[in-house]
Amino acid sequence: MSTTVQLPRWIDVGALPLLNLLLALVVSGLVVLAIGENPAEVVEILLYGAFGYEEAWGYTLYYTTNFIFTGLAFAVAFHCGLFNIGAEGQAYVGGLGVTLAALYLDFLPFPIMLVVGMLAAMIFGAAWAYIPAYLQARRGSHIVITTIMFNFIASSLMVYLLVNVLRPEGSMTPESEQIAENLRLPFIHDIAGALGIEMASSPLNLSFVYAILASVMVWLFIWHTRWGYAIRTVGANAVAATYAGIEPGRFIIIAMMISGALASFMALNEIMGVQHRLLIDFTAGYGFVGIAVALMGRNHPFGIFLAALLFGMLYQGGAELSFEIPTISNDMVVVIQGLVILFTGAMEHMFRPRVTKMYTAWRLRRDAQEAV
């Protein structure tokens, strides 16, 4: 495709993903029809569930927060040419960091704890990403497989710790103790309340603001710093990077650690923000959805924000859906998710050649006319 006329941005990052998304939704609609429900009704409930009332907004944005973090995590690694499937494990281990900090450093005052919790998550998440990164950079192990393996290893490790180490005496569930009140991220409705604005209560918390900040920082980092430049060079052409004196291995490790740190921020939302304790599988597949979010958002923070919002909406609206229509369980949302990933991610090239051809033909004709 490189030799054809470059597609304008609005087609490349706008129309094409939308076309694919539309197809995913049409197929989802067919699935709904197939199980004997009315797609129009489903859409209505989905939208109502996601945006129809004040609290819904809070939930939608709460899910969005997770997806922004995992989407950014995937994108940063992707700019370095790496396929990080390990956000799930990195966030999980990041959650361990937050929890340990909260349980053992609970004497720290609130504002300091906000920073310490974040650092703890980052360090743990980045450290978990470091090993596959090192193996890729220095020993050539394929990062896709190692990060998958590391998800499972993280899962076993965390179960072990939760069951044998972190579970409070006498508790039946493998969960850590609750973290102290003053170490929790404030809910947005509480903040608003303090400012005199009445808001419905929802799990939306300060980490949403972190997510927005993180998006801006990632944007600045990737496109406006030397390291970001180096990372993109390694991703686009590792040979050229070596030529330029940018050692690919070093930036593979840097990019993966940043990626792991971003993934770990999901733990801030879930643990410091909402659950207030470490629990089994709190990552709930958000890490995997992050792949779709990043791909749909063309690995750009703004696109990721939009895609994260879409998935946040699907999650929240989907929960509503399973409440409203008993035959449609939460699994419907999982199906839609799968279809969206399939069509916008795996089949993203489906329309591209045709659209490119059409556009090229149109351009050539226009240029010819102009030449006359």
Partner: protein
């Protein structure tokens, strides 16, 4: 290589291949423009043309690898609808691709039988193939162990496997795409002997090459391509290298460059006993020692693949030295010992690699992003912790205007510039840094005539400004017109040095083929 016999009555015999009106576009690139070509049976037919002229594309269409947008193919006078390589093979066409099409983990035998296994179960077919292979090996003296793993073989031997593949499939017409680019002179000689044998057996050979010497020595007819079009057909006997090169580039080839006598000053680069290994651990540079002084251009001549690329990469800090010392202005900068490409750049070494498209360009970047590759740390491009895109844009615009890069839009994606313009941008980036030492490989490969003159002048101007230049080129003309001193490399070693004033093509050619310098001069003296 011995002289060819003329083909006699051309036109009387049925052409083995006839292409009519072949047209092919890759997106916006018009790779083949309504091409007509006739290749006579039992001849060796050369095709020449600059990089990107469309030679490989044309032959790949004939072989069914690509599909033409328009045009017809006739084999032995019959219209042949070639939809894929399968049809081409059935029509008796075989091709040795520029980039080999071999399965490296397979044995020679497995590679040869792939696609013509002779049955759903391998055993019977394999035994028969082994015998047939033996016969072919003997007939064409293509010695090779059928059970060797192809990945372990040298490039020359891999090429034999490709030829065997074609012959095993009963090819009557054999296409070879730049077969000698990767060969040692001895291997090349052997190849031409094989081609000769093929011709004697009545087979037809199409030979693509850049080397006019080979065309003159080995072919019966020659066709010239330029920018996707077929511009001329000649009987080899009726043409000359001068005419062919003029046809290839579209105007008279440049004459010697006007330049002053060099005024060499202090030694800038000192290389002692440098050894470099490639990724497979094969020693490609063997005990190279030389130095370059400020105010001179040192050229390195050699058949490509004789270690020049590795030498250049090592000096540019990309490849580690396994032995030896490199000093820059008296300081140790031996590559791999704590010194990398970035460090060398900081110390004033600019590097224009041979394979610019792959190594010096990030085609996914915009032109201005590509224009700071390697110099992204330059304080001039920083604003606090951020990159100063305004400054970078201005600098890029300056490079573009000075080196006439078209279109002069710093925001355009690098991939959307033509090959030649991408190269000009790389040259601008490196030369405009005003470095102490310029390492430059194939500076004019693929750029147009106007640009060649301009680039040559810039390089000489650098020399005159007291800088050191190391020039690697396979074009003897270029070496001879630019360099003040010429080092000849063969099989990884620098086998001799010739002052530019004493150099001529024959001496250099002999030395490049590995003949000892004194002997080479003696041979030259006799003629």
């Amino acid at each position: 290589m011995h002289q060819m016999h003329g083909t006699g009555e051309t036109g009387a015999v049925q052409p083995a291949i006839e292409l009519r009106g072949i047209d092919k576009r890759f997106g916006a690139v018009h790779a083949n423009k309504e091409i007509d070509l006739k290749v006579d049976k039992g001849t060796i037919h050369g095709i020449v043309g600059e990089n990107g002229a469309g030679k490989s594309t044309l032959m790949s269409i004939l072989y069914g690898f690509y599909q033409a947008d328009a045009g017809t193919i006739h084999v032995d006078g019959k219209l042949c609808d070639i939809k894929g390589s399968e049809d081409a093979i059935a029509a008796g066409i075989g091709m040795v691709h520029q980039h080999f099409m071999l399965v490296e983990t397979f044995s020679v035998l497995e590679n040869v039988i792939l696609g013509v296994e002779g049955g759903a179960v391998l055993r019977d077919g394999v035994d028969r193939a082994r015998e047939e292979l033996h016969r072919l090996e003997r007939e064409y003296s293509l010695d090779i162990d059928p059970d060797a793993i192809v990945g372990d073989l040298s490039v020359g031997l891999q090429q034999r496997v490709e030829i065997l593949k074609a012959l095993f499939r009963g090819a009557e017409i054999l296409i070879l795409d730049e077969p000698t680019g990767v060969l040692t002179p001895q291997e090349a000689d052997h190849l031409f002997r094989i081609l000769e044998t093929l011709k004697e057996q009545g087979k037809t050979v199409v030979l693509i090459t850049h080397k006019l010497r080979e065309i003159m020595a080995a072919t019966d007819n020659v066709s010239v391509m330029r920018q996707g079009a077929m511009v001329a057909h000649r009987k080899t006997a009726d043409t000359s290298p001068e005419e062919l090169s003029e046809l290839m580039v579209g105007r008279k080839v440049l004459l010697r460059l006007e330049k002053e006598q060099a005024q060499p000053k202090d030694t800038v680069l000192k290389v002692e006993n440098l050894c470099v290994e490639n990724a497979q651990g094969v020693r490609k540079v063997k005990n190279a020692s030389f130095d370059i002084r400020a105010g001179e251009i040192v050229g390195i001549a050699g058949v490509s693949g004789n270690g020049q690329s590795e030498l250049l990469e090592a000096l540019g800090g990309i490849r580690a030295a396994s032995e030896g010392v490199v000093e820059l202005n008296g300081q140790d900068v031996t590559p791999g010992k704590g010194v990398d490409a970035a460090e060398l750049r900081r110390r004033g070494v600019a590097h224009v690699p041979e394979d610019r498209h792959r190594m010096a360009m990030v085609t996914a970047f915009s032109a201005k992003e590509a224009a700071i590759l390697g110099y992204e740390d330059d304080p001039a491009y920083q604003k606090g912790v951020f990159l100063d895109w305004h400054a970078i844009s201005d600098a890029t615009a300056k490079m573009m205007s000075e080196f006439d890069v078209r279109p002069d839009n710093p925001d355009l994606k690098a991939a959307n510039f033509s090959g030649g313009n991408q190269q000009k941008l790389v040259l601008a980036r490196e030369i405009m840094r005003d470095p102490e030492l310029l390492l430059v490989g194939q500076p004019t490969r693929g750029v147009d005539i106007g640009a060649i003159e301009f680039i040559h002048k810039r390089i000489v101007a650098m020399r005159d400004a007291g800088k050191a230049v190391l020039l690697v080129s396979v074009e003897l003309d270029e070496i001879m017109s630019l360099a003040d001193r010429i080092l000849v490399m063969c099989d990884g070693a620098i086998i001799g040095e010739v002052a530019a004033s004493d150099a001529n093509e024959r001496v250099l050619g002999l030395m490049m083929a590995g003949v000892d310098p004194s002997e080479a001069k003696a041979v030259e003296g006799q003629s």
